[in-house]
């Protein structure tokens, strides 16, 4: 039994924390607590010198518990755990207090924010007292990969992984590969043929001996964990097949917004109003004509249909502005005398070559008219017999400040993109989350945009958010690199914060078995006690709170630890109870 020696480190995070929290006072006060051997404050704890500080203290002062009070553990918990490991201390003898995202950044009263920081650090102190060393377990990785979705992103990931000689199962719901890109005529900004590029990729996929393609196929169920997944697929009209693989790439793509819900645009009610995708088809067929066969004299292209609008989707669909410019250029070439109007809310020409396309388009006799996204939308109505056009679009033009009407014989609605209806189903199958717009959430928006919170599951392409072709391919290849990395390692560490049954306390009521979502708990008939399969357990802790006798311990979130954490929050005058472990 050794004495508990805790080191507490309060981070300034430059001014991010120090501006709103008196970090020096926090360190000073926490330093008074028993068992706290050292309490320091430092500019940037996550920096190399910051980590060195911890490592040196562990070595010199013999610390056996560490509390870092800094940003969210979702950002740097792993960083500090590694530092502990480097100093020879078990990484789980560590706790973090979040005084940035949940304190300094959200409060305006320095006194209150400092008080809160002290409470949070004290709670962490109380919790870390009861932390136990946990050892990481590894499992072998199945080198095969499942790619869900045969669009350009899915195919790119598959090709990359297969290129390294690893097996890939590519499952596509539709009849053929290609996804959204198969519906495009030309790509922006270079105006080159989408079909040529796509066919090249499809041919490579079909020829690759390491890729097994299943089209017309849905995934019935996926189970398992990183390194050892299994799924049942149902190829059309055939028997179910079971596949085993170690990683999953989700590349399910997106769908287009249905503009018929916007009353102003009268889509579906008036004949010559097309969505951008319908118009794409018209371009592919090579005939730009009205329903009655006459070529249009006035073409209006309306941007942001269903995008950047509170009533539909608040986000920007990313590709429509450039697609609209592409259309305007194609229209100008096909109909040199036509009047072309771009009715836009904001021209978003970011990305390589895009501003250049915009600039080129502005010199091709195209009239750009801006409407206010916050104000009323443009309204399309049928023109009168004297108007010399089929439709009139009325809008408040923002740059002139005037109410105007735009003549049109054909209207192209630049429909936004949205998550697919079956996104939720896929998310549940692979155990990943969706954000408010039903796009899948990446593990970290900046530092880890490819992985998800579920180990072994990666999201690529536009199922993660609207994206153009090069971005989708980059993301797909990044995911492939990550997967090849884990395959090269041969094994992967799995969840250590699992549940554990104390057989002496277990009364055999089997409540835990009923609540476990992973069927990780089974019942030992002979001993009449429950048993946790730690490979299957994901550490949610539901069994722990359901157990009536307290026989189940949820590692790293034990009853003792959490109750102590509550006490730490509430009792500012009481010393930590435990002197020794």
């Amino acid at each position: 039994m050794e004495e508990v020696k805790i080191g507490v480190y309060v981070c300034w995070c430059g001014t991010n924390i120090a501006k709103m929290v008196d970090v020096e006072e926090v360190a000073k006060e926490i330093g008074k607590y028993p068992n706290v051997v050292i309490a320091r404050d430092y500019k940037y704890m996550c920096s190399d010198p910051g980590q060195e500080l911890i490592i040196n203290d562990i070595k010199k002062l013999g610390l056996n518990r560490v509390v870092v009070s800094a940003c969210s553990p979702r950002i740097h918990e792993l960083t500090f755990r590694k530092a502990l490991e480097k100093a020879g201390l078990n990484p789980y003898l560590f706790e973090m207090a979040n005084i940035r995202e949940q304190d300094s950044w959200v409060h305006t009263d320095r006194v209150e924010a400092t008080r809160k920081a002290k409470d949070l650090v004290r709670a962490a102190l109380h919790k870390v007292l009861f932390h136990e060393p946990l050892s990481e377990r590894t499992v072998e990785i199945n080198p095969a990969t499942l790619v869900i979705g045969g669009g350009i992103a899915g195919m790119s990931a598959a090709l990359e992984i297969a290129g390294a000689g690893k097996k890939v199962y590519l499952v596509e719901k539709m009849e053929s590969l290609g996804g959204m890109m198969a519906r495009l005529d030309l790509t922006f900004p270079g105006l080159e043929s989408a079909r040529d590029n796509l066919q090249l990729t499809v041919a490579r996929v079909m020829k690759d001996p390491n890729i097994e393609v299943y089209t017309n196929t849905v995934i019935r169920d996926i189970f398992g964990y990183v390194g050892n997944f299994e799924c049942i697929i149902s190829p059309n009209f055939k028997e179910d097949i079971s596949l085993q693989f170690g990683n999953v790439v989700v590349a399910t793509g997106l769908k287009t917004f249905d503009p018929s819900v916007i009353p102003e645009y009268k889509y579906g009610q008036l004949p010559d109003i097309y969505t951008s995708h319908e118009f794409e088809g018209m371009l592919t067929s090579g005939r730009i004509v009205r329903k009655d066969g006459r070529p249009p004299e006035n073409v209006a292209i309306i941007h942001c249909v269903g995008s950047r609008n509170r009533n539909y989707h608040e986000y920007c669909s990313r590709v429509c502005c450039m697609t609209a410019l592409k259309y305007a250029n194609q229209l100008r070439s096909a109909l040199p005398e036509a009047n072309i109007f771009e009715i836009y809310a904001d021209m978003r020409a970011m990305g390589k070559g895009c501003e250049e396309l915009y600039s080129l388009s502005s010199r091709r006799k195209i009239m750009f008219l801006m409407f206010d996204q916050q104000g009323p939308l443009p309204v399309i109505r049928k023109a009168g017999s004297r108007d010399k056009c089929d439709y009139l679009i009325t809008l408040q033009e923002k740059l002139s400040g005037q109410d105007i009407e735009v003549p049109a014989d054909m209207v192209i609605l630049m429909v936004g993109t949205e998550a697919r209806e079956d996104a939720k189903e896929v998310a549940h199958q692979v155990g990943i989350s969706m954000c408010g717009n039903a796009f899948f959430i990446e593990k970290h928006p900046k530092l880890d945009p490819v992985a998800t919170t579920t180990n072994g599951v990666y999201i690529v392409g536009s199922c993660q958010g609207p994206k153009d072709i090069p971005d989708s391919i980059s993301q797909a290849r990044a995911a492939a690199a990550r997967i090849l990395g884990t395959i090269a390692q041969g094994s992967v560490t799995v969840e250590v914060t699992t549940a554990n049954v104390n057989e002496e306390l277990c009364c055999g009521c089997q409540t835990c078995i009923k609540v476990c979502p992973y069927t990780a708990i089974s019942f030992k008939e002979e001993e009449k006690v429950s048993f946790v399969n730690e490979i299957l357990c994901k550490g949610c802790g539901t069994c722990g709170s359901a157990c009536p006798t307290g026989a189940i311990t949820c590692r790293h979130f034990t009853d003792r630890q959490l109750i102590n954490q509550i006490e730490g929050l509430m009792r500012m005058d009481v010393e930590p109870e435990l002197k020794e472990v």
Binding site: L369, L399, Q402
Partner: protein, 379 residues
Amino acid sequence: MSQRVDQSLVREVEKFGKGSWNECFHCGNCTAICPLTEEGFLFPRKSYRAMQMGLKQTLASGLEPWLCYYCGDCSTSCPRDANPGETMMILRRYLTSVYDWTGLSKKFYTSHWWEFIFVLILAVIMVILFGFINPNPVDYTLTAEGSVRINAMFPIKWVELGDWAMAILVASLLISNILRMWYKTVIQDKSVKVSLFSYIREFYLLVVHFITQKRFSKCEDKNYWLSHWFLMTGYSIMFAVIVVWLPWFQTEKVYLWYEPQRLLGYYATFGLLFGLIVAGVGRIRKKGVKFRFSHISDWLFIVMLFLTTVTGILVHIFRINGMVEATYISYIVHMAVLVPMVIVEVPFSKWSHLAYRPFAVYFANLKKSGQPVKASVQS
């Protein structure tokens, strides 16, 4: 009422001067830097936008181009080299053609040949009229002071009659165009109602602005205002003495240097020459933004006015030195330049701004003082 956009207008306006109208991305720097723009009369960006969008009615009812004196600051500060200042100049030409009911203005501005030939025909008529059909013989006798009897060959009452005929023609054209401008800019603007009292009260400002050109002095560079003011006053005084007070001004008697006829004549000549030299040299050297682009109409005006002034000076010199033939010939040339210049320039071309600009200030003041009928959708 919403206005129809029109892609063809840009092409139409382009005939009055070439602009780079794709470049503007409406940052508003030009309006921000302009010392003359004000709430209700925002320019040059708004006029530029109306032109890009083909809002004919907005342009025709707008006074903004006339409120601009083209100091060039907007074009200098433009991050896209979209030349807003030159665009206002082009719009002034376009508006002159919009106000002009005869259609000649548009012809002169958009076709050099039309303008040259028209000037040439008038010049030939003048030469024939003064030199060949003239029944009066050349009078070689000199006056007591030794100067040429100019009124003998060109009797003052006939010249005055001709002057008045030309003045009435030019004035009636100009006034009818100003009335059209007034109708388009004030009456057709339903957002504001102007009382009769305002018309009277604001009238003095019309006079003040005409005489002082004080709006121009608000521009950053005061030198242009000075040369412009000399040019304007010189021209106006000369116009007044040779048309309205010709019998008083042009007599057999050569006035002494301190007498008003001589002083006025010298001042006007100086004003004209000074203004013309600044403008001419500036345009040749393309000095500053203001003079970077020169339309043919700008040059024609400068050259003709310069020739008129020079021939006028020659007539004066030859006459007081008793050089009979030279006096008569230079007088005929003087007339052959002056008359076409007045008839072409004053109602139809660049010189019309002498009337449109002060009236634009007058109309703008009327609109400002008027009762707003409803809140307009300016943003």
